[in-house]
Assembly symmetry: C2
Homo-oligomer: 412 residues x 2
């Protein structure tokens, strides 16, 4: 594996993506346009990407041999999640695999504490935080001190492995609740605590960076979370002033440069009540907050991620419409009687402009099984585009058209 | 096969496409978004669609058993070419396969003489034509009479199997040439002759129709042919008045309805010097003249074809920009020293807005190996968009940037 070689198919390269989820599935769509076929390392033959690509290596992202098998002959190896152990990433690099983003960058997306420390070092705005690793008694004391200093407006987080609200605990009821959560979670996870930032909304600044150092930023978007996971994305973020948008893009581009990121990076931000930006999370891969680009930007995040990891020049990132709204299709608490196929029929009849992306996943409560984009027509108000997207996604999830639609339901 | 059943994958259906070419390849991209995986019947494991879909049946479109194998469990069977023998289509239907378009419609796309006769019957405008099947001496006499009546401004055509300029002979030099072509070709092909229509340009009216009878028309485009095959598409057709555009769309929608077409139909038209429209060819599948929709229309022709054959409601067909230009990437006479991958790098650096679609095919002279779309920015003149698309396609084909670019080179 010291000399990764190009695929024989018409002289175009093969990229391997670790993980067979929806991000790999949609990356495969873009790989096809570039004359390629995405190879995926999937845990199961039924994974969203494994059912649509013929180049599947079955195995585990925790197993170095599986990773090496998946990398063989590929010109670059990239990821649809952050779960590959750091020591494996380093071993792959030692074997000559072009790991993109490299382990030296990806570790900051894997470890929230490492990320917070590095961002603080670089002078980027982060919430106040405290390390709760190490000795249990000392950590408990540190938590009590930190919580008191921030009026118990804090969040407990697992340093590794959280996503979509998992591994994140909002503290609403003071010290007693905080210690209870800490005691329950500290056995299985290394924890940290952060100040709960008094924010007006969440933003995402998504960029891509190539090994050559080229960077490209999409318009900054607003993300709306429900039950701890992304539900809706408004592109661009409505009412965001140009100066703040550029500041967010430049923070993301600069950080990617400092960390040596290759591929996409989503920088999730809080916009505070006084107009400041605070970095929340980082992801170094295609990201839910970039799904709108599939139908609403010149270059989709999936094509761009491939271009970046292949060190191709990056594509134009302009939006193709004034307003684009993405809404996730989630599995419902009670799977609707009407099948997904029937619901899709009805949606298409009602909204011929809806762009639906289904992941081929079984429906389970709150599981992301697809998303849809509504691209606004010229002059169409955001509220109208958003209402169509939200109603459509609600229909696809629940099989019920909401008549009393409330744009703020379940937000947190 | 009397009860086609849905795929077990998340309750969504499987469509089978006969043919593993680029049209199937791009249909697979759209199938993925709809939660599906396109099954293809491919002649070779290296076919453009076979290298990107995991659901490949290897076999021949001439073999009924292979066709039946490919149809098993699929809710609909459709085509990326017109080559399946009519008797096999009828046999599939007799086995309960949902053949879309049905044989009763598809026969008109397979047989130019049948098509001409049917169109004339329906009162649709067709060039004068003469049947040259049957007795050789009688056909020769008919040809001489027909040619003389049209000042030898005629075209000889194979009734079946021609494409991309194959099976079409333009007569430039009168009776002697016409008889020479006739004598050479009549052994292997059933022939017909048509009047060469004095036209200003070629148009394509592309529509989709569902079994339910819903029809949807994309904007009418101008197609520019070189060496007998489509080279460039301008969407919408520049300067086409609204009345003529609607007439073209309605001719296509009406014909699709009369013939019972299901799926896409491209009606290729001549615009004559006196502003009339004359029907040239019909295709009942995704078509080169619709490739611009992948990046320039709300619903791409590939998604629409799937929606139609599945009897889903059809998607919105509006263009998303004022001007879109598609240019084919053809294999060059001398394959460039620089690889396709390197050429792609350079193109991306020069035109970050180019949307490239490569088919994973080896380069051979005049073979369609990909295409690209340039979507105009608001206010960008057509000439500028077109020049970018043509230069980009020329670069991808030949590995040479044309400085003295001539928009009319090689047109016929």
């Amino acid at each position: 594996m010291s000399t990764p070689s190009a695929s024989p198919r018409a002289g175009l390269p093969t990229v391997t993506m670790i993980g067979g989820g929806q991000l790999a599935r949609m990356t495969h769509q873009s790989a096809i346009a570039l004359g390629q076929c995405l190879r995926v390392l999937a845990g199961s033959a039924g994974d969203p990407a494994a059912v649509v690509s013929p180049d599947v290596v079955l195995g585990s992202h925790d197993d170095l041999d599986d990773l090496l098998r998946a990398a063989e002959g590929a010109v670059a190896l990239t990821f649809d999640h952050e779960g590959v152990p750091l020591e494996h990433l380093r071993a792959l690099e030692a074997h000559g695999v072009a790991v993109r983003p490299p382990s030296a960058a990806l570790q900051y997306a894997q470890d929230k504490l490492l990320m917070r420390n590095r961002l603080a070092e670089l002078g980027l705005p982060v919430p106040a935080f405290v390390d709760l690793a190490g000795d249990r008694a000392a950590a408990r004391s540190a938590l009590i001190e930190f919580g008191a200093a921030h009026d118990w407006q804090i969040v407990l987080k697992a340093v590794r492995g959280g996503y979509d609200g998992r591994g994140v605990w909002l503290i609403d009821c003071g010290q007693e609740q905080a210690l209870e959560v800490f005691d329950a979670a500290a056995d299985s996870s290394v924890l940290m605590a952060e100040q709960k930032v008094p924010m007006v909304r969440e933003l995402s600044a998504m960029i891509a960076r190539s090994p050559h150092g080229q960077g490209a930023a999409w318009p900054v978007v607003e993300t709306i979370q429900r039950n701890g996971q992304c539900a809706v994305v408004l592109a661009p973020a409505p009412g965001l002033d140009e100066e703040t948008a550029q500041r967010a893009q430049q923070m993301a581009l600069r950080l990617a440069d400092e960390l040596g990121v290759v591929g996409n990076m989503a920088m999730e931000l809080f916009e505070t009540v006084d107009g400041a930006l605070v970095v929340n999370e980082l992801a170094m891969r295609p990201h839910n907050s970039g799904h709108w680009t599939m139908d609403g930007a010149v270059t989709s995040q999936f094509e761009q991620h491939l271009r970046a990891v292949l060190d191709y020049p990056l594509g134009a990132t302009a939006a193709t419409a004034d307003v684009v709204v993405m809404a996730n299709i989630l599995g419902a608490e009670n799977v609707p009687e009407m099948s997904m196929d029937e619901r899709l029929h009805h949606l298409m009849a009602r909204l011929p402009e809806a762009k639906v992306h289904l992941y081929g996943k079984a429906e389970r409560p709150d599981r992301k099984v697809g998303h849809l984009n509504i691209v606004g027509r010229p002059g169409q108000p955001l509220a109208d585009v958003r209402e169509r997207a939200e109603r459509a996604a609600h229909w696809m999830s629940h099989g019920v058209w909401t008549d009393g639609w409330d744009p703020h339901q379940g937000e947190n």
